[in-house]
Amino acid sequence: MIQIENLSKRYGELEVLNTMSLHIQKGSIFGIIGQSGAGKSTLLRCINGLETFDSGRILVDGIQISTGNDRQAREARREIGMVFQNFSLLDRLNVYDNVAFPMKSWGYKKKEIDERVRELIGLVDLNDKISAFPPYLSGGQKQRVAIARALTMQPKVLLCDEATSALDPRTAESILNLLKEINEKTGITIIVVAHQLSVIRNICTHMAILEDGHLACHGATTEIFMQAPAALRRLQGNRENHANLSVLFCEQDQFVFSRMVRDLETDFDIMDIQHLGMGKEAQIHYSIRVPEEKLDTCLSWLRKKGIYCQTVEKEGADSV
């Protein structure tokens, strides 16, 4: 779906992106995370041609992306919707006209615009605010308008640049829920850039960690959390990892550890718990510590129960 090949960009001496290659699958929600200045926003902006790059190329559905002002480049950009951290709504237009903005600019027919805009405003649940002006909306409502606007041109990809960073945690969660819902309903590929791990944990099926313009690791979110590579641990605040076992199961699986303890007569400590995903598919990832001599028996006991688990490498390799 999105093919990034050997992408490089530098500002003078500073290497913002260093020969980055990444493949993003159709229909996935892909999270890009990293410290400030790691190049994640730059990467995102390269994907829809807002930013130039020095070498490499980006293909979206086989079409090459560029920053040009010519019609071909602009039409390629139209296939990619974008949601911004600060909403970027036009203050002098009401909700309806803000959502209609891209279609009006591309000269769609009035009737077509009206149908699409009303449908999308319904989708983001803002029917009662349809003629309100942005200064009178809350942050969450503004971002809903921006999401509706980003979807008007029926893009194949939706890019979210820190879309929830300016929102309080509850509002942020409702926005993430909305994104997930849209992904499930329409199958649109969503790329989320965030600096909060919670955003990635909640909705992303796949993720990549950037460090100083390098791709530190990437893969399925559950895999990354299971293997806890050094890049992930650095992101979590470089905590020392005393856990030796990584376990992942659904909320429906009951009393897993207490049964394991009874069966194997072992002790264990829970070092860390992370929720992955939201709603019905939510999974919980445990980092636990069991006595070294019991590690193998615990591992085979858990596997026999069909529970996904693996040992944690002490100083894990960076690659996944």
């Binding site: 807002l50 602009r74 139209r78 600019s105």
Partner: protein
């Protein structure tokens, strides 16, 4: 002091001298501002397009000459601009005095001022909005019209109000060198003739005109804030 005799004299001055001068001033301001806004707006759009750092399509070769010329003209004290342009005015219009002859220097002085004001107003538009529009694949022309112009309408209204008031001042100065209007009446029939009545009446009327322009501008500004 303000007896009926005073008002009789005042009415005579007003009807024969000041009222026609008010019309001249208003006409001068209106025509000059029309020319300035049309030309200044075009130049401002060009400058916003080509601005070296914030422009939609940065182009120093176009921006720098416009900017330098605009700055040079604006650095002229207006009285000197009138006399400097006098030979050109005479060449084009055949005369150096009168309304038509005043409009030329007024416009030459006003266009760069308006252009600069409008350019600043348009550059104030949040660059994130421009980026947003670009992400939807809008062309530079569309961005200029649908984002920059649309969002800066209130600021443009303010700038035009400011420029219009400035123009009233310049008109008075043009009056000093033969353009007619309130400024000319205040100076020639008031100040130089030791006629305080004419002088202060003209001054007060000029003041009222400026206040009315500001009032109209403010009303329009608040109207524009929302759509």
């Amino acid at each position: 002091m303000f007896n009926s005799e005073f008002w009789d004299v005042w009415m005579r001055y007003f009807n024969q001298l000041i009222a026609p001068a008010i019309l001249v001033t208003l006409r001068l301001v209106a025509v000059t501002m029309l020319i300035c806004v049309v030309c200044g707006f075009g130049l401002a759009c060009l400058m916003v397009l080509t601005h070296p750092s914030k422009g939609l399509h940065p182009n120093k070769k176009i921006y720098t000459p416009i900017s330098v010329v605009a700055n040079s003209i604006r650095s002229f004290p207006f009285v000197l601009l009138i006399v400097t342009l006098a030979p050109i005015t005479r060449f084009i219009l055949g005369t150096m005095i009168g309304e038509a002859a005043a409009i030329l220097p007024l416009s030459v002085g006003g266009i760069p001022f308006v252009a600069r004001l409008l350019e600043n107003a348009m550059l104030e538009v949040n660059p994130q909005l421009i980026e947003m529009a670009r992400s939807f694949g809008l062309s530079n022309r569309e961005i200029l019209v649908r984002v920059i112009l649309k969002e800066s309408v209130p600021a443009i209204v303010n700038s035009v109000t400011l420029a219009t008031i400035n123009c009233v001042g310049s008109t008075a100065m043009a009056g000093a060198v033969g353009a007619g209007g309130l400024g000319s009446v205040a100076l020639n029939y008031g100040f130089y003739s030791f006629n305080d009545l004419v002088l202060y009446t003209s001054v007060i009327i000029t003041l009222i005109i400026v206040q009315l322009i500001q009032l109209a501008g403010s009303l329009l500004y608040h109207r524009c804030l929302r759509k």
